[in-house]
Symmetry: C2
Subunit: 317 residues, 2 copies
């Protein structure tokens, strides 16, 4: 392996100033061996910015960069490594000759977050391992147990189950109803980089589907891995660029996921009605069983990345 990089860049994009006033001061000790000092919460804060890291190759083999947008309650780490330490999709797309940008969506990871209810309206949500076991479709609703030896998974499971607790290290709190703030930062990123291939997973897949319509001049191809939602009709306007959507296993047996998929399929029908090419890879329909919601972490993650890379090569970009 090995990567000849021209540069590794990182920056924050988007965001604005917000001011707080009328809040009480407090005494807090902050430094090792230090004494308590007064903390005044009144003043200015940055709000709504997004962290981006770009891996720019010495000799990229493609003109368009790839953007990897993670899902809800996650960060860009999802793309850097699998929980059992295999290379992530970052490495597969670098290996395929693409420049790659990885984001931490607004309010997650290195993007930082703001006080609630002072600046954010609501408290965040923290995902339990119990819920993730079900929602990520690793096993039945009550299949999680604190003791790994007592966990029940779906048959033919392709997720590295022994690394599920390691995977939980990647999770971060999330807020509901922050989609507009996040989309606005993704738009600012596309404005900065220029046209790109956008690959999104879960909530990020929904953002990728929306970016395709909201920023049509800046997105050359859209890949949505298990999108958990789709944009409103308002964004639909004529033919768009090629789309690829990929689904794992155990969706129809999961009421919430069956519902999310129905929403996405109705969006796909509308795109196709407007002559947009939408290819769908339904893995279990091909006889590939056991993929979870985290296609980029399952044991066949590299093969799935290569499916996307081949599709990008065949799509007329």
């Amino acid at each position: 392996m090995g990567f000849q990089l021209k540069n590794i860049v990182s920056f924050h994009i988007g965001g604005r100033n917000v001011s707080l006033s009328g809040r009480q001061k407090e005494l807090r000790r902050l430094a090792q061996g230090g004494t308590p000092r007064e903390i005044d919460p009144n003043g200015d804060y940055q709000f709504g910015q997004m962290y981006v890291q770009g891996y720019l190759q010495e000799n990229p083999r493609h003109q368009l960069p790839v953007m990897l947008w993670h899902g809800g309650g996650m960060t860009g780490v999802n793309w850097e490594t699998t929980p059992d330490g295999r290379p992530g999709w970052l490495h597969h797309f670098l290996g395929a000759g693409y420049d790659v940008y990885i984001c931490d969506a607004v309010e997650r990871g290195r993007s930082g977050w703001n006080a609630f209810p002072d600046i954010y309206a609501d408290a965040p949500l923290f995902r339990t391992k119990n819920e993730a076991w079900d929602m990520f479709r690793l096993g039945p609703k009550d299949g999680y147990h604190t003791d790994p030896a007592l966990r029940t998974s779906h048959p033919e499971m392709l997720f590295p189950l022994d690394s599920f607790d390691q995977f939980a290290c990647q999770w971060v709190p999330r807020w509901a109803d922050h989609e507009l703030m996040t989309m606005s930062a993704y738009g600012a990123l596309l404005e900065r980089t220029g046209p790109a291939i956008v690959i999104g997973h879960s909530q990020g897949g929904g953002f990728a589907l929306r970016a395709a319509l909201e920023f049509p001049h800046l997105v050359a191809a859209t890949v949505a891995l298990e999108p958990s939602g789709a944009p409103n009709r308002e964004w639909l306007a004529g033919k768009s660029h090629p789309h690829l959507i990929m689904w794992g296993d155990q969706i129809q047996s999961h009421a919430i996921w069956a519902g999310y998929r129905k929403t996405v399929e109705s969006h796909v029908a509308q795109l196709r009605g407007l002559k947009t090419t939408v290819d769908v890879i339904d893995l279990p329909a091909e006889g590939i069983r056991g993929n979870t919601h985290f296609l980029m972490m399952d044991s066949n993650a590299e093969a799935l990345a290569n499916r996307v890379i081949a599709w990008l090569g065949s799509a007329a970009l």
Copy 2:
């Protein structure tokens, strides 16, 4: 420039499971276009893990890797770029032939954080731009103004003042009194990588000084940039490896910083009393005026990195 990397690795280290019970369920809408669903906060969460990204060179020119540990309310981004987009110390140490590890300390950035008061005892602290202007020693206590044109800075200022709001994009909330949790993750990291050169800034400088004593077999050299604290006497035990400490400008005129420095200087005296080599670079004493608390972001950041690189070369590692 350009970097021939053998691999870019990332992982989470440390951490354990914690369980919550007896909390109320709530209804929340999470997916774009989705319907509200029940969220159950009861169950298992990961706690205390730390995110690490490693840049491993095809042909490192040194056996020991460099670790860059950021300060309080920050993330590893501090080392990746300056707010005005110049290369960070990451690039300077890669350019000098070192493998480099950058961490997001526990509870910050990609390390994630836990619910309070359920798991963390206290609420976090959010740093205002107003406080940072003073505490980072960019200007007088009341020198900050929302309008950049109305801000008052210290004379001969070397921080890229036009990018102060961009710098604020890098800040994240922090908790007081989490030092032990953080040190334990840093220790686990050193156990994993083996002996390393530890470079810490501010709170991270205090952690670096403590790691030197708590994990003496795993730290080959300690560089503390403007450490905001020092470990307790309990950790002092005989001669240690070489230390370098670097200070910027405007410290004696700032009561809190003068106090922090006093704590560190008493630690230095104790180290020297035990025959440990401690070199101190006091920039204003050398006639170099205008450095702030963020030495790795000031306009002479590259020259200061080269000072550290030269010191590492001269220290018998």
